[in-house]
Symmetry: C2
Subunit: 453 residues, 2 copies
Amino acid sequence: METIKYFLSEDRIPRAWYNIQADLPTPAPPVLHPGTGQPIGPGDLAPIFPMALIMQEVSQERYIEIPDEVRDVYRQWRPSPLYRARRLEKALDTPAKIYYKYEGVSPAGSHKPNTAVPQAYYNKVEGVKRLSTETGAGQWGSSLAMACAFFGLECKVFMVRVSYDQKPYRRGLIEAYGAQVSASPSNETNTGRAILAEYPDSTGSLGIAISEAVEVAATDPNTKYSLGSVLNHVLMHQTVIGLETLEQMEMAGDYPDVIVGCTGGGSNFAGITFPFIGRKLRGEADVRIVAVEPAACPSLTRGRYAYDFGDTGHLTPLVKMHTLGSTFVPPGIHAGGLRYHGMAPLVSHLLELGQIEATATEQLDAFAAGVQFARAEGIIPAPEANHAVAGAIAEALRCKQEGVSRVILFNLCGHGHFDMQAYIDYAAGKLQNYAYPAEEIAMALAGLPVVAA
Amino acid sequence: METIKYFLSEDRIPRAWYNIQADLPTPAPPVLHPGTGQPIGPGDLAPIFPMALIMQEVSQERYIEIPDEVRDVYRQWRPSPLYRARRLEKALDTPAKIYYKYEGVSPAGSHKPNTAVPQAYYNKVEGVKRLSTETGAGQWGSSLAMACAFFGLECKVFMVRVSYDQKPYRRGLIEAYGAQVSASPSNETNTGRAILAEYPDSTGSLGIAISEAVEVAATDPNTKYSLGSVLNHVLMHQTVIGLETLEQMEMAGDYPDVIVGCTGGGSNFAGITFPFIGRKLRGEADVRIVAVEPAACPSLTRGRYAYDFGDTGHLTPLVKMHTLGSTFVPPGIHAGGLRYHGMAPLVSHLLELGQIEATATEQLDAFAAGVQFARAEGIIPAPEANHAVAGAIAEALRCKQEGVSRVILFNLCGHGHFDMQAYIDYAAGKLQNYAYPAEEIAMALAGLPVVAA
């Protein structure tokens, strides 16, 4: 059974990122200052981000040019391949055609360098010496550490405690790139110390790690903060994935009936889907879009669409998003990159607009899908990506049941090479599903800030 | 500093493997039957290998066609990219041009699937149900497990004990592909039981694991044996690496002055160099060739060129090669794939012919090179590949010292994603060099079989 790969030559690396804000029928709600309740301006963000990224965050231009220095680095692994999963189709005995875009070809093994590289670049240009950031599973931390090594910046990573312990290999990679890693919550920040005082055994969360990284940037003039997901400019950088895929689907002579992506903060999902959603919004081509999130951290399917803090320590502005409450600490699933209490405001807005659907998958179902995929296609997916695999397989089996051939596209956002302990534990029967943590979420939602808007 | 990638389209995947035996000025010495001391024939190997591979082993044809079914699988990751290491050149401040071929793009993360796939294919065609094999670091075991999953074969892997313990992630990958893994020496074979009886704490070696895998194949009519290196047909399958690189160097407008590869059994080294050595043997273009082996297991630089067994349990025929003695158990370096007492007969023969040079590198120097490479180029090399990186850096620094610009090419045969514990231990100062194990090697060499030839 042959592999079919659609490969673009490097001159087809996109020359501009796609900014979906230009095509929205109604704009996403504004970001608010937590003190005044009023929309914030670029100046409010200047202490923690370089101006180039702040301007991208609020831009309404449809396309924003990718600097040559960034494309030069992209060239190492971009354009990434699009595959037809022929062996998986055969294993599923489905009439569906399954395509996957593979972002694990980057040196750090995921889609994250697509934004780590431009973020490091813009900071370097503006004279920043050091970046601080959070990381869940370590995909983001290792990507930013690599980008910092390329551009000669120092890098400080707050790694969620449960992943720090579960995924020593990711930590080793971050350190091999020369960055400095601390388990979060840590004793290095006010936020971390306060949480440890109350919960000495805290497993941490992305919300806590973000607070720590923001605090470091806000208190050190040589350090800026860098975020691996959620924000508009981060999602926009990821659109290189979907822009390439549009061309590759054309090479394949197919157009997706449905696109599946996993969602934590929303960046890989946005990366593959936004260029397709843009076409849909402009009336050029219809497509179903399905976000798959972990049942243990179900912001889109069971969260509230409300203004909330992006972090647990409440150092960020307020953003309107699907949230489980900024103080919610998700169970320690292996898909650490999906353990975020909120969702990118643009993704949340699109759900409200009815442009996308959302579904939640249990941990064991995600791993079962990942193992089936690995045996058919050879690539072992990251635990996060397993959610997308599970979603794609579910769509393919529905095609079989209905006797309909549809074109299914999903984003395989990273490989699981650094996550093999999870597969070992899965094979040994040590992993579990997590019942919907209703009480914890209700408590966290009860603490949502009161905002007039 | 831009990345430069030379990418071939998939129609440039080679249509035939290159067989260097066709171009040798003198043939390599014959393989001998250990009982009779006479050259063996194809029939002697039939119990453990399928006939297609036996015929490839002894073929004198220059090119052997790659079956479509194999090229169809190759297409998933081949042609692999050739990079110019611009950021590394800059970090070294060298006038040299450094190119590397990257084989870590295969789903199993190394060059090994290049031969695992055809081996599984030919066995499948001949009706074999199960393959048994050995693995050192796990690169080979995971590759064969993947290939068996693709072709619907069962797979049994004897994994060298020290790697089984040091590299649980590789083991996890092998198991995720559905293969069955045992630590070697094991209690499952006569060879394993005999060694455990004498050395209950044996860390194992490739020589021991080969004996166990061969024994299983020899005693089960449904099982054949599969070897990941050393043999002529294995080295030939790897020549897709060098054949592609020839074209890619032409795209780059350069021809290598020196090619560096790491050597354990010799397969990745042969893969990149044989097509170039063939051109040299045919008088078409000259090139220096440098094999880099670990100082802890220095078969080419300090071994004896003599007839020896390929395995510790003496179940294989006798081959003439550079050997440290089949009973030598190398120190537990992290480059487990290079812990073999012998060397591929064809590589040994080329050293005797003066066509290649050999040098040995200490473990700490290899890791230092690997970390420097990762920070410059983003890819974290396998511990085995670090030896090639160290060799290439040494050549580049020599260029700097001499004020000469040379073209250096090396094979980055795999990534180190499953080997991060080694990097973590290296960063923590826990790794060591190993003095040349003179006494152990002298003892092992004293036990070499006496062969008239």
